[in-house]
Structures are given as structure tokens and as C-alpha cells.
């Protein structure tokens, strides 16, 4: 992994001049769960991960999805990267939709791949938030640096607050793939998909057998990859 010295943009796969894909992580900013998928996307794209503001030393978390999306785009512009594909899972998918809008305002609309994200405000409970936070901290291993723990928790807290306040409002004209994890027939998932349909004019949807946190694990990843490949092949056919 290399990142620009300024920090947040992490090169996951780079091989000469090719179209760019940017991957936006879930809450907490961990990119490790994206690595296998990045490897697959990296056969066609140069792939970059974008750490959230707040997780690197000396960095402060940002408030609000709009601010976060703006700083993602600023970082990409600074690096001279115009992604043709923006990927996001969970919190990253919510952010990807707004990043897509911001990029489309200044250039071609990137394709968006959104996995198990909702355009509606997130109704969180303290217990659920605590469980997610514990899961994030477990990924840091048994002996994490205390500073890292503090920064991840602080960033997670601002991201959760942002999700609870955010409602996607603007219609997106680019191509969008939304994949929904199991259980996809519960009230929250159905409402989210209904709203995605209202917001995205060129929308492809699909469901995955995996749960929210299992979708990148080896038994489940091939199905997600297959859905993404079919989506991207459709774009190539339309050219």
C-alpha cells in the first residue's frame, strides 16, 4: 500500500495509465476487507482507497456527509485522479453516491457500485453502534496503538452521527449498481431500495446471500464480483 505523503489516498493497485477506481471504506476507514475485491478490479483499473479524515495522525474527523464527500473529491483532484468507478460499502456507499454527484458536477459521471447502503437516515441504537465499534476495534488486533484506537473511535462517532442525519436527495444520472446483503426483505432494506430507485435513473439492483459483514469473505465474494463484472460489462456494451 502506498499513500500520498498527505495521507488519505491509498494506492491499492497501480499499473501504468488506466482508468481509475476509488474505493470508499465503511465506518472506521479500514481498507483491508476490500483487498481481494481491489485485486479483481485491479485487473482493469488503477485502484485507490480513500481513508476518512480523522484516522491519520494530526487529522481531524469531518462533520456531515456533504463535507466528507467534498474532501474526498478535493483529495482526488489534488492527486489528478478522475475515477470512472466509485465503490462503497455501508457508510462508504452513502458517501460514494454524494462523491458521484460532486464528480459529475465537474466532469463525466462515474459509475457507482454501492453495497448494502441506505440513502435514508440511519436509525441507530447504542447497542448496535457499540457492537459495530467493537468489531472495528477487533480488527486492530490485540495490541493496537492507543492513539490509533482513539482516532478510529472518534472518526466512527462522527460518521455514525453523519449517517443519522443524512438523507440523499438528489437524483443521479450516471450508472449505479446497488447490491443488497441478506436479509434483503426486511423493512429497512426494502425502504432503502425503494429510495435508491427514486434517486438513480440508470439503476441495476441485486441481492447477495451474505450478511452485511460477510460480503467480502471468500465464500461470498465471487457472487459480488460476478455482479460487478456483469454491471461493468453492460457499460462496455453500451459504449
Amino acid at each position: 500500500v502506498t499513500a500520498k505523503k498527505s495521507g488519505r489516498l491509498v494506492t491499492l493497485v497501480r499499473r501504468g495509465r488506466r482508468p481509475a477506481c476509488v474505493m470508499l471504506p465503511g465506518t472506521g476507514g479500514g481498507l483491508s476487507m476490500y483487498l481481494r475485491l481491489a485485486g479483481h478490479l485491479g485487473t482493469s483499473y488503477n485502484v485507490y482507497g480513500m481513508l476518512p479524515a480523522g484516522v491519520l495522525p494530526g487529522d481531524e474527523p469531518e462533520d456531515g456527509i456533504a463535507t466528507m464527500a467534498g474532501s474526498v473529491v478535493d483529495t482526488l483532484v489534488e492527486a489528478g485522479i478522475e475515477p470512472e468507478l466509485v465503490f462503497g460499502w455501508s457508510f462508504g456507499g452513502v458517501l460514494a453516491f454524494e462523491v458521484g454527484h460532486a464528480l459529475a458536477a465537474a466532469g463525466p459521471a462515474p459509475q457507482l457500485v454501492i453495497v448494502d447502503s441506505s440513502p435514508l437516515p440511519r436509525l441507530s441504537t447504542p447497542d448496535e453502534d457499540e457492537a459495530i465499534k467493537d468489531r472495528l476495534l477487533a480488527q486492530l488486533g490485540p495490541r493496537p496503538e492507543p492513539d490509533v484506537v482513539e482516532r478510529v473511535v472518534r472518526t466512527f462517532t462522527t460518521q455514525v452521527a453523519a449517517l443519522s442525519e443524512h438523507r440523499a436527495e438528489r437524483r443521479y444520472d450516471g450508472r449505479v449498481l446497488v447490491q443488497v446483503c441478506a436479509p434483503w426483505d426486511d423493512e429497512t432494506a426494502v425502504a432503502a431500495l425503494r429510495r435508491w430507485r427514486e434517486l438513480a435513473g440508470d439503476l441495476t439492483t441485486g441481492t447477495l446471500d451474505a450478511g452485511h459483514f460477510e460480503v467480502f469473505e471468500l465464500p461470498h465474494l465471487p457472487r459480488l464480483i460476478s455482479a460487478i463484472d456483469d454491471f461493468l460489462a453492460g457499460e462496455r456494451r453500451d459504449r
Binding site: 491499492l12 499499473r15 476507514g29 483487498l35 479483481h40 495490541r143 493496537p144 478510529v152 465471487p222
Partner: protein, 94 residues
Amino acid sequence: MPTINESAETMADTVDLDGVIARYATTEFDDSTPILEAGLESLSLVRLAVEVATDEEAEIDATRLVDVTTIGDLKTWLRELGSGSVMMTEPNTS
């Protein structure tokens, strides 16, 4: 002027990988220590790799980090990163 291979060897040889890793590890380690046991999570690995990979135009495949479990694996990968010889391979997802 050195050849590409000579330059790569020089870069890899001049980086004190144990010293760089020690700045991010939270406990003592040797090559057999699992990276998480050493206190190295993905954010630390990002910062660590930035120190080692000085060529901003080199080919990179960080997806190989999936297979890095020990300090020894990490050092091998960092040596390849530092030399710009990291190969493109698609991780096995089947």
C-alpha cells in the same frame, strides 16, 4: 549509471525494515510474530509502506497484503515494494 535491477537492490538494501517496523509496532517482534500481535493493523501498514515505497510511479499491487500474516511476510512484501518489483496477481477468490 546503475541498471534498474541494481537500483532496486540498492533501495531495498538501504531500508532498515526492522527499524521502520519497530516505529509502528507496539511490542517486540521477530520474523515469526503475527503482524496483529505486533500491533500492526491496516492503518499502520499504510503509514509504514509510505516510508518504504519512495517511487510514486512504480507498479503496485497492495492486494497481496491479504497474504501477509507475519512480520517475515511483511518484510518480504516491503522489500518488493521498495524495489518496485511487486507483481500484478489477482487474489484467488474461488
